[in-house]
């Protein structure tokens, strides 16, 4: 089994955590990633910074700017990834970002670099199924999971197209909006996750707007995984290179809530 499928096969919901690579500096990211793992995160999403993060709210926009301002290059992100893989052989690592930095040297180049760095999956915000040839075939050939996003606007008719060719897990964006803003009503998340899980053969993780252990726990009752990003990125913004401690603390609280969410029910 792959690292990603293992992460969703522990008999409990998974905690998926996101931070932007190179924020506040390329050198500081390693300790923050380690804090996520030590705090109990099951899947790590490493954001590739981009000048124009159109799908992100203020928290992650600023993280992108801090990272690029610190001089982060694509080569730094790949180095951060491969060093992470050396330290944590079993923890799945996913690169998340935008199409242009991923495809500028060619999709085959990017897929090969992912394999070299031990990256398990890729989330590309602005390549919908309609533009799959841009990146999807290269990743699938290389054995790297293409993790697609489904949203409240992805209706029943469209869902099969989103699932086709995606693997690892499906990332359900719970609100029509940008990262880090309001959270969707729990009832609408429950309904959507049930609908999607009826069609999806892969795990369904839910994110966007999830900030607290309480929110994470409520989602983990129905979803296979819960994604938390902006709340962690806010800690990096506040504590900079010393963020590892606070990041580990929040991650541990989130992990406890997510991992035990279904215990009472069982």
């Amino acid at each position: 089994m792959s690292r990603l499928s293992n992460a969703f096969a522990k008999g409990r919901p998974a905690l998926v955590t996101f931070v932007t690579g190179g924020d506040p500096t390329p050198d500081a990211t390693a300790s923050i990633l380690d804090a996520l793992v030590e705090g109990g995160a099951d899947v790590i999403e490493l954001g590739m910074p981009f000048t124009d993060p159109m799908a992100d709210g203020p928290a992650i926009q600023l993280a992108n700017l801090r990272s690029l301002g610190a001089g982060t290059k694509t080569a730094d992100i790949l180095r951060i990834a491969s060093e992470f893989r050396a330290r944590h052989p079993e923890v799945p690592l996913v690169l998340m970002g935008y199409a242009n930095p991923m495809t500028i040297r060619g999709a085959d180049w990017f897929a090969a670099e992912c394999v070299k760095a031990g990256v398990d999956g890729v989330i590309c915000v602005d390549i919908p199924p309609e533009e799959d040839p841009e990146l999807g075939p290269a990743l699938r050939t290389a054995g790297v999971s293409l993790i697609r996003l489904a949203t409240p606007t992805t209706d029943h008719a469209r869902l099969p197209a989103v699932l086709e060719g995606s693997s690892g897990f499906l990332y359900y964006v719970s609100v029509a909006g940008i990262t880090g803003m309001q959270q969707a009503a729990q009832a609408s998340i429950d309904e959507a996750v049930a609908r999607i899980k009826a069609s999806a053969a892969i795990p369904v993780a839910v994110g966007f707007g999830v900030r607290t252990p309480e929110q994470a726990e409520a989602i983990a009752k129905v979803a296979d995984g819960v994604v938390v990003g902006s709340a962690l990125v806010d800690l990096v913004a506040k504590h900079g290179a010393d963020a590892a401690g606070p990041v580990k603390e929040l991650t541990a609280a989130l992990a406890a809530a997510v991992h035990s969410a279904r215990k009472g029910a069982l």
């Binding site: 799908a55 709210g57 495809t103 309609e130 841009e134 996003l149 606007t153 964006v173 803003m181």
Partner: protein
Amino acid sequence: MNAQTPNSFRNQPDERGHFGQFGGRYVAETLMPLILDLEQEYRKAKADPAFQAEFDDLLEHYVGRPSPLYFAPRLTEELGGAQVWFKRDELNHTGAHKINNCIGQILLAMRMGKTRIIAETGAGQHGVATATVCARFGLPCVIFMGATDVERQKPNVFRMKLLGAEVVPVTAGAGTLKDAMNEALRDWVANVHNTFYIIGTAAGPHPYPELVRDFQSVIGKEARAQMLNRIGRLPDLLVAAIGGGSNAIGLFHPFLDDASVKMLGVEAAGHGLDKEHAASLAGGRPGILHGNKTYLLQDEDGQITEGHSISAGLDYPGIGPEHSWLKEIGRVDYTSVTDKEALDGFQLLCRTEGIIPALEPAHAIAAVKKVAPTMGKDQIILANLCGRGDKDIFSVAEHLGVSL
């Protein structure tokens, strides 16, 4: 032999919204269903005579079309070569070509039942045109504008507010057009159920490049008929300035299959192509931004770099995807002129023809100034005068060292 469809340069994009390798729909999943709806609705509107009739009627009675075709005798004499003609789209209501597209898109928005309009603007011309049509049809309007541009285009900000629009200054990035577009996309994603995004140039995700081109093609359709009517022949060369490229594609597209007509698109070379500029075709590479694949100013990692031009309407680091395709297949030639050359072109037209052009078409005039003397006196250049210069007199004064 059976009748065959002749080769045409006018049948792009393909069914997936691609112009060759360019164009496409590179948007977040949240927007994808809406983009597909928009395409369907646009196909229906395009085939609906009532939609076309309403569009035509508004262009005639509200915008003031057709715009005149004007022979510029003193400029022609001064340049001493080809005859220079102008398509006078600066005489449109709101003073630029932008209104043509806004009329078309707001009719589409209402057809789709959308009740709120958003738009991005750089120089403010598209913002003013959008605010204008929103006032005309009574729809709430939010305009995203880079904070830097809000500072340098104060009169247009005031115009938009007078017209009832809310102007949101965008401080992200350098606070210019691309940052305004990012913010508009973020708003759209969050309000996709009731909001229509009126994109101002022939770029963005399919079907925007196609529909903006179609709405702006009124420029070229009129000009072609006017030329034939006035002098019984087509021009030898078309010239238009390019930021995103909507006025240029609007002029060029109806002529693309006229083999005798050459075309020249003029990008903004800013301080020079070896310094800060906004010439995506001359100084960029293909990449993906704002929903489409096209030539972009970017570094080796694909990070987008800021464009610079004296004209706020041209300093965008990308270009409409159809221009990228027309460059690649060689149907249209592209050149660039510097801030300084554009300022000279601006003054040249003021002095010789009594027309104050916007800084955007001043780039086209600067290119005409270079190319006209190399052509014969029996040859004809048609340039698009896509905006008037009232909005620019303050920045021109500053660049000329005059304090007002």
